[in-house]
């Protein structure tokens, strides 16, 4: 696939070109960086480390209407994802793109989720390489990722100073490059080499790490271990760690009344850290306390997922560490898993 470059002067023009699609880019809401649909190029904010909330909601919306119904009418008004149109997510970090590739496995597993998969098919992911790790708690390299990783991406941009190096990675990326043919130029011969060196340097700057070897195999034996009580003691049971996790994908389905006699069935993010998560109709809760819920969070990522899909469902973005109100730190938990016997 071809390698091109985009001068920073032409970035606005390129984003303008892309806004003929549904264009999602990092933007500021007060001082918080979030991914949102942008109308004009000026709204995009590329001086960010990483967004507070990952862009997963553009593949897996936090609330998604599946169909609408009217009492007395057997016809269902079903959702048509195609109406959302072609989407470009611009400027997501390699960890967040890799997370989508990991979650794809789940949504195309025993049941092919039509909404999610259609949306993914319509979406092109344009990544921004991490020349500097966005936070002290980044640990992507420990879980199979890379600050310049391309997994899940269709195109990767690397900030080279005055310009971005643009790598086409898939057919979708190639098509997008064609759309931007007026803005892209040929890259210099040694640019790719330079970027390779930058990638090595970036990896060297990652501060935190964990040796995951053996963790997935060990976790089932630690089911009743006292460590779970210890690591969950301070947990508030809020949804920060899971809602801000780019790989967490649990959802609930509910019916909501909109107008008298009209309603909709929708699905929305759920979190295993919530008390009502998987409460049975009988009132029994298989995960009655935060101890079992924390154990579930770690096991889901580091045991069940590798067992089914041969990949750890954690990309090391560090959000759950950065934003936990009580400093529950997944690397600290994993260290205790390694030490436990």
């Amino acid at each position: 696939m071809a390698v091109k470059k985009l001068s920073k002067e032409k970035l606005g023009e390129a984003l303008g070109e892309l806004s003929k699609f549904r264009l999602i880019a990092p933007a500021k809401s007060d001082d918080v960086v979030v991914f949102k649909q942008i109308g004009d190029a000026g709204e995009a904010f590329l001086g960010y480390g990483n967004s507070t909330v990952p862009p997963k909601k553009f593949a897996f919306p936090q609330t998604e209407t599946l169909f609408r119904f009217v009492v007395g009418n057997p016809e269902l008004n079903e959702k048509n994802v195609e109406e959302e149109g072609t989407t470009v997510i611009f400027g997501l970090r390699p960890c967040d793109a890799r997370a989508m590739a990991i979650v794809d496995k789940l949504f195309s597993w025993d049941f092919e989720d039509p909404y999610y998969l259609k949306r993914r098919e319509l979406t092109t992911l344009v990544g921004m390489a991490c020349v500097e790790p966005p936070s002290v708690n980044c640990f992507c390299a420990s879980v199979g990722g890379n600050p310049f990783g391309t997994e899940g991406l269709d195109m990767l941009l690397t900030d080279m100073g005055d310009y971005y190096l643009v790598q086409e990675l898939t057919d979708k990326g190639k098509k997008l490059a064609e759309t931007l043919s007026a803005q892209l130029e040929d890259a210099a011969a040694d640019d790719e080499k330079k970027a390779e060196q930058m990638a090595l340097d970036a990896k060297g700057k990652i501060r935190r790490s964990i040796d995951t070897a053996g963790i997935p195999e060990k976790l089932p034996d630690l089911w009743e271990n006292e460590l779970w009580k210890k690591v969950s003691a301070a947990c508030l049971g809020c949804g920060i760690c899971t809602y801000l996790c780019p790989t967490c994908h649990c959802f609930d389905i509910q019916d909501e009344v909109e107008e008298m006699g009209e309603g909709r069935r929708c699905r929305m993010w759920d979190s295993c850290m919530f008390g009502e998560y998987t409460v049975h109709a009988s009132g029994h809760n298989p995960r009655p306390t935060r101890k079992e819920r924390t154990r579930n969070r770690i096991n889901h990522k580091y045991s069940y997922y590798p067992e089914h899909f041969e990949v750890i469902a954690c990309v090391g973005c560090g959000r759950c560490i950065n934003l936990c109100p009580v400093n529950i730190d997944i690397l600290d938990i994993l260290d205790q898993v390694v030490d436990a016997s």
């Binding site: 809401s29 007060d30 001082d31 918080v32 979030v34 507070t52 909330v53 936090q62 609330t63 936070s135 002290v136 708690n137 501060r207 935190r208 003691a233 301070a234 508030l236 049971g237 809020c238 949804g239 920060i240 809602y243 801000l244 609930d252 509910q254 909501e256 009344v257 929708c266 929305m268 993010w269 979190s271 919530f274 008390g275 009502e276 009655p288 306390t289 935060r290 560490i321 934003l323 109100p325 009580v326 400093n327 529950i328 730190d329 690397l331 600290d332």
Partner: protein, 327 residues
Amino acid sequence: MVDLTKLREMAKEVISREDVRELIGYRPGTYGFRVRPAFVTGPDDADDLVFTPACVNNLASYIVLEEKLPVKRGEEPDLRKVAVMVKGCDSRALLQQMEEKAYPRERILVLGIPCTGVVDMAKVQARFPDVLEVGEIALEGEKLVLSAGGTKEEVPKEELLADKCTRCRYPTPLVYDELLDAEVERFADDDYADVAEMEKRSAADKWAYWEEKFNRCIRCYSCRNVCPMCYCEDCVLLRLQPQWMRRSVDLSENTAYHISRAYHLAGRCIQCGECQRVCPVDIPLMELNRKFSKDVLELYDYEPGTDVENPPLLSTFKVEDREDFIM
């Protein structure tokens, strides 16, 4: 500053008592300048307890967050006390909980810490974004001294102090069984100037302001869960039949959620600021809560969490209560 040797000695003594089950305090965090809540069950665990200006968490929340599982047949419920370390602001949460009869006074043992102020961790993080080593924050006079990985930096305390501390009227806990140090004189006052400023803005202007904030709410419920006053066993949010509040996350429902919560805290919020501190998307929730606090103070001369003998505001009626704002 709290003498750590004294604090740990006291903790050891307390946790060794037969009638104490657990002691909740603070210990160093896993990275940077953070500390985290510590749950001490034996004298040996008391050795890593700390108290520094980084101890932001309101530990009173854990008293009402405790999970009460059914007691197994043949077993007795553990009715021993829980000991909890509180700063002045946090102690108001305990008082308010007790005013509301959330639990009997004898169930807890309060270790009061006269507090000279805690930092705003977001300000610390913004100023020292690259600190990975576990560091320390100490208050020395008017300066905060931050040390990590062999380096030491001094910062004027007003640059990093939490907003609530700059208007703190209760630095010494209002309830305690043991006080860890000499009382601290009140060092600030609260004139609610920030609320008055907000009140001056037009309705359209205020709505535009809150619309931006509520739009980015992800409904993680961290504000609810961390709140020491949010302890209903049956939360209105969990009701599905009928569904009082939809689960869908959009501006309308997010607004309903935050306004409901603010109303439920009217006359109850003790202004520890935890809801705002924990919000991952920086919604300034204390601006709502402080508006209610100001109203309650002006209308009824009532301040929650200051007197355990005071019945909760909304459970009382006096003939002379003002009602001119209703009609």
